[in-house]
Symmetry: C2
Subunit: 522 residues, 2 copies
């Protein structure tokens, strides 16, 4: 069969060439037998860098990080329905982050499907609820055109992951034709009517607030937010967002609090709630007797466009229409003193603020330790912060991998809970293999600490021994230094703020992957 390769383009080659023609430059892969022709097609495509991931959840999380940083979707290579399922949770997260991503999922040859071989599954059925777009290239001649279509579909109108199934016979057959180079659709613009309504409502409101997400969180978007702030609006981001510019020189909005009762207290008195690049605020979980929708009673709400709109542009037009010229002051560089004493998330945050270089990228899957690490970095050197938007823990290390591949010149910091980190610890191996410039900080408290908090908040009663065991990661304690070094990433454990500060300074100074096991209170 290898003669075919020289006489005509295979479907796999047409697909890969089309994605490369459209600007895709990275493929996070975990292949199987049905994707062998995709492998040799990738061999022939120097414009795409292939990165092996030992678990598909690493591949999809990395593709998410890659696109958040580069602005261009990455390709993943997944093995049949099982490979998709392994990558599914981070695809859910990517969908909630509105991250474009092109998942190429190998399938059995079309004539093979009817025999229901052991790895056969209904991939269209399994993927559809988790995707913006799904199609199968059921003949070789459509592999190129569907690759173009997948690329375009990943941009939206609401960006997100798409899946293109590639049956093995479509991959191996000659007759592939590259698809067109397409211009991906831009985000939508909010309507003039909405802007006019907002101007009018703001004119009569006493305590207007605008909740923002999306492009409003870029450096340009935050400059517009600073105009609205100077004009008298309160500016607040969603609790979780895909990426925000932060630090010295950047205007700092408030952040919606995670726990519903705290968010409601914070919003109390707001009489106008505008939303741009997001929807109305909603509690992460429901709790007995507590509201789901976090809008104060009597507060007027006004939608300036959701995740499918260019919220930076919305803010600019709104500030123009309001005639606001001034800008609220940006954060001024202010680095904390070196922390000392017991190590906790606040000390981690202080050290982060001290040592993060300009342009750093943070991947935050820190769960119960996330917020206290976040706050001190507000006045650090300018950087970008990336959050877990979909709530499926285990995104942090894969996202950091993808970010590092997209921006090898920038330092990447990963914050991960120990529970979260165990989900996708395979990412460490890929960080080592790619010599990715990522410093991973694992908050080691040997527990699902957030759940110990939530157990009480949900009113589930006092935990007995079974519940306690199900929320503890102890017995045995995980040796994160051993785990990390076994996968090729040098690691150190620290138990004091001083030791953490020194370890972080050293890790940031050294290029390549490092891990710091930060032992914090449980």
């Amino acid at each position: 069969m290898s003669d075919l390769d020289t006489v005509a383009m295979t479907g796999a080659e047409a697909l890969v060439a089309t994605l490369a023609d459209n600007g895709v430059t990275a493929c996070f892969a975990n292949p199987g037998t049905s994707e062998m022709h995709l492998l040799t097609a990738l061999d022939k495509e120097p414009r795409i860098r292939s990165i092996l991931c030992l678990f598909e959840g690493v591949a999809t999380g990395a593709a998410d990080g890659y696109a958040r940083v580069s602005g261009v979707p990455a390709m993943t290579l997944l093995h049949l329905g099982a490979g998709y399922l392994n990558g599914g949770a981070n695809l859910h997260n990517a969908g909630r982050a509105n991250t474009p991503m092109i998942n190429v999922i190998g399938d059995h040859a079309v004539p093979h499907l009817k025999y229901d071989a052991p790895l056969t599954s209904d991939i269209i059925g399994l993927t559809t609820p988790n995707m913006r777009w799904v199609k199968s290239a059921e003949s070789v001649d459509v592999t190129g055109t569907l690759a173009t279509e997948a690329f375009v579909a990943s941009y939206g109108p609401r960006p997100g992951p798409v899946s293109l199934l590639l049956p093995a016979d479509s991959a191996w057959s000659p007759g592939g034709r590259p698809g067109a180079v397409a211009s991906p659709p831009a985000l939508r613009t909010s309507g003039d009517t909405a802007i006019a309504k907002a101007v009018s409502a703001i004119g009569t409101a006493e305590t207007p607030l605008i909740l923002i997400n999306g492009t409003a969180l870029t450096e340009q978007g935050l400059e517009q937010a600073a105009r609205l702030k100077a004009g008298g609006l309160r500016i607040m981001t969603d609790t979780f967002y895909a990426k925000m510019r932060r630090g010295a020189g950047v205007f700092t909005p408030d952040r919606m609090q995670y726990f519903a009762e705290m968010a409601m207290a914070d919003l109390e008195g707001t009489d106008l709630l505008l939303t741009a690049g997001t929807g109305l605020p909603v509690a992460f979980f429901a709790y007995p007797g507590k509201p789901s929708l976090l809008v104060p009673e009597g507060c007027e709400t006004l939608d300036l466009g959701g995740a499918d709109t260019d919220s930076a542009d919305t803010l600019r037009r709104l500030a123009d229409a309001l005639g606001y010229q001034d800008r609220a002051a940006p954060a001024v560089l202010s680095l904390p003193e070196a922390p000392s004493g017991a190590l906790d998330a606040a000390a981690v945050g202080a050290s982060l603020a001290r040592h993060m270089p300009e342009g750093a990228l943070v991947s935050d899957d820190g769960v119960s330790n996330g917020l206290l690490s976040y706050l001190p970095t507000q006045t650090a050197r300018p950087h970008d912060w990336m959050m877990l938007t979909g709530g499926a823990i285990g995104q942090g290390m894969p996202l950091a991998l993808g970010a590092a591949i997209a921006a090898p010149e920038r330092k990447v910091i990963c914050l991960s809970g120990d529970g979260a980190g165990m989900y996708t610890n395979q990412a460490l191996w890929s960080l080592a293999r790619e010599n990715a410039d990522v410093t991973t900080i694992v908050f080691v408290n040997h527990s699902y600490r957030i759940l110990n908090i939530e157990l009480h908040r949900t009113g589930a009663g006092n935990p007995g021994p079974t519940a306690r065991d199900l929320l503890s990661l102890g017995g045995p304690n995980i040796d994160w230094v051993g785990l990390s070094t076994s996968l090729g990433v040098p690691a150190v454990e620290v138990t004091t703020a001083e030791a953490f500060d020194a370890a972080l300074a050293e890790a940031i100074a050294a290029p390549g992957p490092r891990l710091i096991a930060a032992v914090v209170p449980g």
Copy 2:
């Protein structure tokens, strides 16, 4: 809210009590906020043992192993759609193994769903293609009855995994009522007509063969297979099966070969192919120019019932109808000499045969090293062998965990490829925590070796540097001893047959979890 617990049963308590009433004794769990009331319900249910798994693929794989050994479905506790997705690949495997399993998937409170919170997903849509049965307990009063229904549905007619969604408000509200204790349905019986047809066809066939799976592979089923063999039929099992009794005193059928061309060569000349407890043999993957259906041309086929039938009973009735009284000889105990020299899969198999105690349970996810470890154990002490039936690697260690929980008095041996083992290495931590009596053997060849073979078989051409990198697990090599000990399982690496033999003898003599990193040729 905790007062409610004392005045009335919650939905979570009704669900858990119903499953316990029906004989469920184990719950493999990874909870989140939406499952807090399930945790405290499990606290109150001493009949169910809860086992924490740090990744949901471990929970579903362990539940599979538990049911294969105990014959009773285990419960899993999964966190929303993301938790299901993480467990999805081993659910696919369990479906292909026809293993009953009750997945309890927490969902948001029903009134919360319409707000599309970050972790909201279409769980019914995501699970349905992977399940025998799915329902959501959308009010507290149905939690008990649906638990009974789920229990019954997991038994079939074709056994397999089912999912019961439990919205958080149905879990926390009082008003739960336990469901009935039900008699699960038995497997179907094949029809008399089919048996009569088979008798007639066998009478005129020259080289009849019966392909078997399911209950035909129990000790009782194989006794009936031995009667058919003595009467002149060739007996063959599927390449992969959920569990088979093997070793001294047990009749040994042939096994369908994995590679299609070898299977076809082996079947050549067969003029009658009967199937019992399975379907017609199909190639695992399609290959260019090769057939999918592995039935020789002109060979008559006859279906004696699929995975929903009691194939042991089918064999008994067929042997009765044919008047076969004799039995082919069972395997006679014959233990190999201690292997020496270079370590390879055959040497591993020889040591296994030497040291496996009577009643051992083997979980085989050995991929390219599976077959050569399998063959020498044919004349070992009697044991049960469990295979990866669904092709989604990463089942071996979780399955072994579940088997050990189900049968603490039996020694469990896990065979895993290094690529396979990396998928669900979190299982090692649960093995340590539960002090499970499992000896895990990882075949360390630092490659997806099976794919290096398949690359050539699919005619994908010669691998260039990209393809080679995507099939290699080197750069860095994974330190399996370090990985295992970091998760609490004592481990040793061996590179010679002599050292492996000694390490295996020691691991089998010692109760509790051990891991042997067996370095074999790549």
